[in-house]
């Protein structure tokens, strides 16, 4: 469900579950963390992309059907937290090529990127409160990516925005006309970053983490996991699989 490739200085990690729009499962998130942990020492940039029509449609909520106690939801939330944290902890810049759609957990992954590339008609957002799920886990990362106001509106408003709108509000840094162009553009950007003086790049990245640190991420995870398997989630979550 995760593939990796080495393109010279760039290490590419690919969400590879195209038949399910790269919907995330606990196993897949585990593989993603492993792949990030195995970043080659000589790599100068990591590129995160998705195979198929879209980057990532979020959690595979159908797996929660058979776990009314919320075990699967908790595993998904914890896996997502580990994956974003692992991206943020890397010493090298991270480029995310988010074509087509980056929804809920898929949108959360953008918070692990230094540079986010998308396309004009992509759908991005975090419509999960209507399912009784709290996106709190992503708040510490998304507010650093796009600012407090944008993080607030994306997580609470329940709707999706286009790639064009994401560029304006800061959720994405580059927006291309066609979804097919996203991955190549992102690969070029990762190559460009990997070719820069590594010492200065690493020092600048560490300094930015120091002056704008990720705060309260463990507490935020707990806010999300505390609701998993609760009455509200059990009542509202079935809409998710009814809709598919």
């Amino acid at each position: 469900m995760i593939r990796t490739h080495v393109h010279g200085d760039v290490y590419e990690v690919v969400l590879a579950r195209a038949e399910k729009r790269n919907a995330l499962t606990p196993d897949m998130l585990g593989q993603l963390c492993t792949a990030i942990g195995e970043t080659p020492r000589e790599a100068g940039g990591l590129l995160l992309t998705g195979e198929g029509a879209v980057f990532c449609a979020g959690f595979d909520l159908s797996l929660c059907k058979d776990a009314p106690g919320g075990e699967v939801m908790r595993a998904l939330l914890e896996g997502l937290h580990r994956a974003i944290s692992a991206l943020r902890r890397l010493e090298i810049p991270v480029v995310v090529g988010a074509h087509g759609a980056a929804i809920a957990g898929g949108c959360a992954l953008l918070g692990g990127g230094d540079l986010v590339v998308t396309n004009s008609d992509a759908k991005l957002g975090y419509p999960v409160v209507r399912l009784g799920v709290s996106p709190a886990i992503s708040a510490p990362f998304l507010r650093r990516l796009a600012g407090d106001g944008v993080a607030r509106s994306r997580m609470l408003e329940n709707g999706l925005i286009s790639g064009r709108e994401a560029l304006v509000c800061g959720l994405a840094h580059e927006c291309l006309p066609a979804p097919d162009a996203v991955r190549d553009f992102a690969l070029e950007a990762a190559r460009m970053l990997a070719a820069k003086p590594r010492g200065a790049l690493a020092a600048t990245r560490r300094w930015l983490d120091e002056i704008s640190p990720i705060e309260l991420d463990v507490e935020a995870l707990h806010v999300s996991t505390a609701l998993a398997g609760g009455e509200e989630e059990r009542r509202l979550l079935p809409q998710a699989w009814a809709a598919r």
Binding site: P93, D114, L115, R144, L145, A146, G147, G170, H173, A189, M192, L193, K196, P197, R198, G199, A200, L201, A203, T204, R205, W207, L208, I211, S212
Partner: protein
């Protein structure tokens, strides 16, 4: 009221004060002497009695706004490099603490530390074809002094993209990413645009402006001197690395 021989010229004109960087032959690159003059002139402004200017406009004499730190002179001497970076850090803190609204009139290139000058101001105005940005990482240097001001100006996410990707952007792109607040189409319209913004600002109550700026400073951490001062040390450290030294020497010899 102004002294034309100085590297930095302060002109006082009722509610609007102007500070011009006046080292056009070096594209207003920040040397110890230029920064020294900029400190002196801003100190004169600070010492003025209440009822002084409500607005300070900063611009560059000649074609450039400011080409950045004059690193050539301090490349061999890390003590001087630290002195230069510390002087820039202290000057940015001084600008942020001024009780008046500070406007950058970015008349041409604003590069590296020069772009930092624009971003520490409360408002930045430029034209579509100016060149702005932070190419420090391309030279093996870390833009640590100006990073906190860019983060406060455009947010942490956009600052990461801008500082890590390096290079330069047009005034129009700078406006699109929030580094510039007011954009005019051509260089010939800049003065007029700056004047109209300054007039509007000067018509506001100076106490209200000062109180609002003071509150914003508290909210966004602008009064935390230690971050910017540590930035100066980090920047000097990275400047001393072989990576930075070899890149800069290659640039200066070309």
């Amino acid at each position: 009221m102004s002294n034309t021989n100085q590297l930095a010229q302060l002109t006082l004109d009722g509610p609007v004060a102007r500070l011009a960087l006046n080292r056009p032959d070096a594209r207003n690159a920040l040397s110890l002497d230029l920064l020294g003059a900029m400190h002196q002139e801003v100190d004169r402004l600070q010492s003025r009695a209440p009822g002084g200017p409500h607005v300070l406009i900063i611009s560059g004499v000649g074609k450039s706004f400011c080409a950045g730190m004059d690193l050539k002179a301090v490349l061999d001497n890390n003590r001087l490099a630290l002195e230069l970076l510390t002087s820039l850090a202290e000057w940015t803190l001084k600008i942020r603490r001024l009780p008046m609204v500070v406007v950058a009139s970015v008349n041409g290139a604003a590069i590296g530390g020069g772009c930092g000058l624009a971003c520490v101001c409360d408002l930045a105005i430029t034209h579509a074809d100016s060149k702005m940005g932070y190419p420090e990482v391309d030279l093996g240097v870390c833009p640590a002094v100006v990073a906190p001001w860019l983060v406060r100006k455009v947010g942490a996410g956009r600052a990461r993209k801008i500082l890590l990707t390096g290079g330069l952007m047009s005034g129009r792109e700078a406006h699109a990413c929030g580094m510039v607040d007011v954009l005019c189409e051509s260089a010939s319209q800049l003065d007029e645009t700056v004047e109209s913004v300054a007039r509007r600002l000067a018509s506001g109550g100076s106490n209200a402006l000062a109180a609002t700026k003071g509150l914003l400073n508290q909210l966004d951490g602008s009064l935390d001197d230690s971050i910017v001062m540590r930035g100066a040390q980090l920047s000097a450290q990275v400047l001393a690395t072989p990576e930075a030294q070899s890149r800069l020497r290659a640039k200066f010899s070309s």
